[in-house]
Symmetry: C2
Subunit: 152 residues, 2 copies
Amino acid sequence: MTTATQLFEVSSTGKWIEGLKTEINIRDFSPVVVDEPKNLGGTDLAPNPVEYVLAGLTSCTSVMIGLIAKELDFSYSNVSFQNKGTLDLRGLAGDPNVSPHFQTVSYEVQITTDEDDEKLHALIDAVEKRCPVLNLIKDAGVKVSANWVRSK
Amino acid sequence: MTTATQLFEVSSTGKWIEGLKTEINIRDFSPVVVDEPKNLGGTDLAPNPVEYVLAGLTSCTSVMIGLIAKELDFSYSNVSFQNKGTLDLRGLAGDPNVSPHFQTVSYEVQITTDEDDEKLHALIDAVEKRCPVLNLIKDAGVKVSANWVRSK
């Protein structure tokens, strides 16, 4: 049985301010400011574009944990996240043999739960299969490594 | 001639707050808050993860325009951006036959410049080849459409 497409649309607008600084508007929220560090030519007033992608990865993982925990009747009291991405700046600088985006992405999730290992693994498996931002990065051919750590 | 790898590392940390709300820390900047709209189960206090990816796309395009304009001695006075992504929520909900991330992404760039068409096309071509976030999305197999509009 197939179900009908459930299209969900997201959008943003943006405006270049000066130098490498840009303001992004998403719905009615306060503008998201984006800049680059000084060593990349910016004024370092805000995170840079790929850091926002990592923010998307962490928060997407967090949302999926929340949604899937509900489906599995899985309780948890705390979750924290770290992630890291490496880029080879030769790609961005124009070397056609080097990808301009991530070479590697690694992330760690610390979750506090009393659920048994089987249920925890079912949660992790579903999160990793269904998380939009994680799968965007994986589908782009980036080497992704994950480390889930639980405490009770 | 090949040049040596120029690794650049980015990272973020995050903490689940409650429901589908998460706070992300990037370097010493104020926390980035991420939530989901009410119809997806959140409290709608902030943009959602894929909206931050779109923010990354817009700002990355903006940064690349700035960097490449410098290389090409290209002047411009104004740039604004719109983009849009569609997801099919069946993927996120667990349908293994549907990608959990973007089905399509489209973006428009309005740029105000007096440079001639040839120089403008050289700029656009380089931005599209070298932009990290745009190429992440393209390499993930997403159908991407672009529209560059110039005014003088």
